[in-house]
């Protein structure tokens, strides 16, 4: 059970800190910032923790994991660095409907495929690609909103 993880992590931490006490006394003169720099250089989420995530996915019993170095059930398809933020201008009602569609339809579907903690960038990226594939329907919506009919074929 999950709380066993916490229990073990804390107890391991207690033991570690006890054995570290002596060592820390020796290192007391070391500048505090040393650990900071190291953290910043190496604490990139997704690098050193891949193996562990891989294990988790494995034990969850999912069968379709084909990726070699990322686990598709727990990792977004692409990182923050690939995503670029751009403003979208829309009315509040359209935003609400969009957000509702993501929350009520899209995310539950993803969950049924064992995909949780989806990132906004991933959802927005997919949504834009769907729109690009349905350009005609987008044009229809614009015409409809202007009261100019709603079907380009007519």
């Amino acid at each position: 059970m999950a709380f066993d993880d916490l229990d073990q992590a804390e107890q391991a931490e207690d033991e570690k800190s006890e054995t570290q006490d002596a060592a820390e006394e020796r290192d007391a003169s070391e500048p505090v910032d040393a650990s900071v720099t190291e953290a910043d250089l190496t604490a990139d989420p997704g690098s050193h923790s891949e193996n562990r995530r891989q294990d988790e996915t494995g034990t969850r019993g999912s069968s379709s994991s084909t990726s070699e170095d990322t686990s598709p059930h727990s990792e977004p398809a692409f990182g923050f660095e690939e995503a670029k933020q751009r403003p979208l201008y829309a009315r509040q009602r359209a935003w609400d409907e969009f957000e509702d569609a993501l929350a009520i339809d899209v995310e539950p579907t993803l969950r049924r495929h064992d995909v949780r903690d989806t990132s906004k960038r991933e959802l927005h990226d997919a949504a834009l690609r769907v729109l690009a594939d349905h350009a005609e329907e987008v044009a229809n919506k614009v015409l409809e909103a202007r009261g100019l009919g709603s079907n380009l074929d007519e």
């Binding site: 709380f3 604490a43 989420p45 923050f80």
Partner: protein
């Protein structure tokens, strides 16, 4: 963990799962800290901005200038971005483009330490004795900043489907990862939204049993939800007359949220307020102070 002394302290309220009452816990903990110590600051670092928007700071959340970006990545003064919620309680609001801040922190020099150097260090023990950070529910630079700046974590949990995976992920992806680089104390594990009977084998009971059977229960389970083996026996025998463990569901807690107020300011008579009071005491002293010995 051993020495419990009252001193200025920052704490992160975080769990890698939405819907665990993280924001409600953070705001009411901060409110009680302010009530008991005259002032406190709560930082909304959650990109969904629920706390900021619920408290009515929509303008700050949607402002053209991203004040969090200014403070963490430019040379903005954090004091200019802080707003007052109620007497004594201040807020560093979230901004709708926090995800952009997170992206840029990845490439910034000392990107995990910015919240500490720009916000917590200049303010803690000076302007505020207590700072509470409402963390995002996903792993990333913002969470890393929150944990690095506070070194203390309170983990909220609710008896809902998926609490198991929420805690599992929090421990394995947040706590253990952080501890590879810096010190991180778990101050408390806090169940919220309890509503079921405990003499029946239901989810509330399962959660409380799990929390209370941890070897470390004595150091991380607050008194308001600490249940001993004797208590369980009494509960099952129908002779238990102690208080029901909290934090229990109360409509006032939800209504306060809807009204954009901390619980104390919405309904100071709510019986669950004392639970947030104990959480505040835990932050003040840096750990749970056990009211009675528990044989578990």
């Amino acid at each position: 963990m051993s020495e419990h002394d009252t001193q200025p302290r920052a704490v992160a309220v975080g769990v890698l799962k939405g819907g665990f009452a993280k924001t409600t816990t953070a705001i009411n903990l901060a409110r009680e800290l302010a009530h008991r110590n005259e002032s406190a600051l709560v930082i909304d670092l959650d990109d969904n901005g629920h706390m900021t928007q619920n408290l009515g700071f929509i303008e700050e959340y949607e402002a053209e200038t991203n004040h969090v970006h200014e403070v963490l990545l430019e040379d903005g003064d954090v004091r200019d971005a802080i707003v007052s919620v109620v007497d004594g309680l201040d807020l560093l609001p979230a901004h709708q483009d926090l995800e952009d801040v997170q992206t840029q922190l990845k490439n910034a020099m000392g990107g995990s330490t910015r919240l500490n150097t720009r916000v917590v260090e200049p303010l803690l023990g000076d302007e505020y004795d207590y700072i509470v950070v409402d963390c995002p529910a996903n792993q990333g630079k913002l969470n890393e900043n929150a944990l690095y700046a506070t070194n203390n974590l309170i983990i909220p949990v609710r008896p809902e489907t998926g609490y198991d995976s929420g805690i599992h992920n929090t421990v394995n992806r947040l706590v253990k990862e952080a501890r590879q680089y810096f010190e991180l104390d778990i101050l408390a594990v806090v169940p919220s939204g309890l509503s079921q009977r405990l003499d029946q084998d239901r989810r509330d009971r399962a959660l409380l049993e799990e929390i209370n059977s941890m070897g470390i229960a004595d150091s991380v389970v607050p008194n308001f939800c600490r249940i001993s083996d004797e208590d369980w026996a009494a509960i099952d025998g129908g002779t238990y007359d102690g208080p029901l463990p909290g934090i229990r569901y109360r409509s006032a807690i939800d209504d306060a949220n809807d009204a954009g107020l901390p619980l104390r300011d919405y309904d100071a008579s709510c019986d669950q307020l004392s639970c947030y009071g104990e959480l505040a005491a835990i932050v003040e002293t840096g750990g749970v102070v056990r009211e009675r010995e528990v044989v578990a």
